[in-house]
Symmetry: C2
Subunit: 258 residues, 2 copies
C-alpha cells in the first residue's frame, strides 16, 4: 500500500527492531536507502531484503529524510553524541528521553513501537501502537504520518509518559514471560510439556484483555488460601529465586484484596 508521502529512510541498526521496521517501511511504499551496522554481515542481511545499501561506517551515510536509530539504549546514547545529520533523526527506545538527540540534528524525535520484537517472527505492525514525540510540530507531522503508514494506532506521547509506558510493558511482557518460564521449569521436572499450559495461558490473556486484569484475578492468593500457598512454598524449597518470586507476587495479590 503506497503512501502519499514516500520517504527516504536510513536504518541505523540491524537488530530485532530494524529487522521488523525495514520490511514494513518498504511495504508501505517508503525507500530504505541504507542499513548501518558495525558488522557487515548484519547490515547486508537486512539491506538485501530491502533493496538498500549496507554500510558499516557512519561516514558513508547518504542524504535521507529520516534516520531511524534502532539500537540498544547505550548505543543510541553513544551515537547521539557523535552523529550529526541533516534531516530528521529518531530513536525507537521506550525509556530514552527525546533530549538525547538534540545535538544530533535540528529536527529530531522518538518513534517507539510498543511491542516485543524477535527476528524471524511474523508480526502485524498495523495493530502495534506507535508512540511519537518530536522536537517541533513540523517534525511531529512527518513522524505521525510515517507511523500512520505502518500502523492504525499512532499516539503522541511525551518522554515522561513513554518511560512509564515502557515500565508497564516490562511487567506485561517481560515479567509475565518469566512467569511462564518458572511454570515451564516446574513442568520440566515432572516431564510434562510446556504446551499443556497453552489453553490456560491463552484464556488468561484473553480474560484480562476483556474484563481487565484486576477482575480476572483468581488463585490461592486471591482467595487468601494460606494452606495452598504454604504447600506451594514447600514444593519450591531448593529454588530460592522461585520462592522469592512466589512470595513477592502473592503478597502483592493479597494486598489488592484489601
Amino acid at each position: 500500500m503506497p503512501v502519499k508521502k514516500s520517504k527516504r529512510i536510513v536504518l541505523i541498526g540491524a537488530g530485532n527492531v530494524a529487522g521488523h521496521l525495514g520490511p514494513a517501511l518498504v511495504a508501505a511504499g517508503h525507500k530504505v536507502v541504507q542499513v548501518y551496522s558495525r558488522t557487515a554481515k548484519n547490515a547486508s542481511k537486512i539491506a538485501k531484503r530491502l533493496g538498500a545499501k549496507p554500510i558499516t561506517s557512519l561516514r558513508q551515510l547518504a542524504p535521507a529524510d529520516i534516520y531511524i536509530m534502532a539500537l540498544k539504549d547505550d548505543a543510541v546514547k553513544n551515537l547521539a553524541r557523535k552523529l550529526r545529520v541533516r534531516g530528521i533523526v529518531v530513536h525507537t527506545s521506550g525509556p530514552l528521553n527525546i533530549d538525547i538527540l538534540e545535538k544530533t540534528a535540528r529536527n529530531y524525535g522518538v518513534f517507539y513501537p510498543l511491542q516485543t520484537f524477535t527476528i524471524g517472527r511474523k508480526l502485524d505492525l498495523k495493530k502495534v501502537p506507535f508512540c511519537i514525540e518530536a522536537s517541533d510540530s513540523a517534525t511531529k507531522k512527518v513522524l505521525m504520518d510515517l507511523a500512520g503508514s505502518l500502523s492504525a494506532h499512532v499516539l503522541s506521547v511525551s518522554s515522561a509518559k513513554r518511560s512509564k509506558l515502557h515500565l508497564a510493558a516490562v511487567f506485561a511482557c517481560n515479567f509475565s514471560n518469566h512467569m511462564y518460564t518458572l511454570a515451564g521449569d516446574i513442568l520440566e521436572k515432572e516431564n510434562l510439556p510446556f504446551g499443556i499450559l497453552e489453553p490456560l495461558i491463552r484464556e488468561t490473556a484473553q480474560k484480562a484483555l476483556e474484563t481487565g486484569p484486576r477482575k480476572a484475578q483468581t488463585g490461592p492468593a486471591a482467595r487468601g488460601d494460606n494452606g495452598t500457598m504454604k504447600e506451594h512454598l514447600a514444593m519450591l524449597k531448593g529454588d530460592k529465586r522461585a520462592k522469592r518470586v512466589y512470595t513477592a507476587v502473592s503478597k502483592s495479590i493479597l494486598k489488592n484484596k484489601l
Copy 2:
C-alpha cells in the same frame, strides 16, 4: 454430540467450575440430574439451564453414576468427611490429594480441568487438558471416558504430579495476570487504557508458546541493563509491593542468564 455411555451426574457445587462443566456435560449427552448448592438461588440458576433439579440439602441426593464435587478446596475437605455416596465421587481440585475421598465412596477419583474458569465466559472445553486419577482401574476407565466426551486432551496424572501442575498453573495464570494488573496500575496513573498493551500481551503469550518462554525472554533484566532497572525502581518508589515484585522477578531473570 451424544456419547456411547451417557452418565447420570450430580453436580455438587454451583460456582465457576460447575457452571462450565454442567453445560458441557449436557452437550456431550450426559444427564445432570441434580445441582447442589447451600444457596437455593445459586443451585437453581445452574440447574435450570441443565434441566436438573436444584437441591440445597445433601440428604436429597439422588442415585447417580458420578458425583462431581466442584467446590473450593476447604469445602471439598469438609464435605468429603461427612458425605457417603454409592457411585463414583470425584473432586475437581488441582492441589487436593485423591485420598481425601477414600471414605466418601468405594470408587472415587479426581477430575481436574487445567483452566481458569469465570462464570459467564465462553470456553472451549475441547482444548482443555483434563487430569484424571482414580481409586481403581474400572473407575479410571469411566472417568477417562467422561473426560474424553468433553475434551480431546485427557491425561492420567497422580496427585503428586497434579499438585506440581497446579503450582505451574499458578505461575502461568494467576501470577502472569497479576503482572498485567501491575502494568494496568501504572497505565491508569498516566490515563492510558489497558488495551494499549493488547498486541504486546498477545505476542508475548504467542511467542512463549511457539519458541518456549526461556528463549523468548527480553527486557532490561534479560539484557543486564542496570541503568534502566534503576530508573524503573525509582519510578516505582511509593509503591513498595510493585517494587518488591520488580526486584524479585528481575533477579530471577538475571539468574537465568548465568
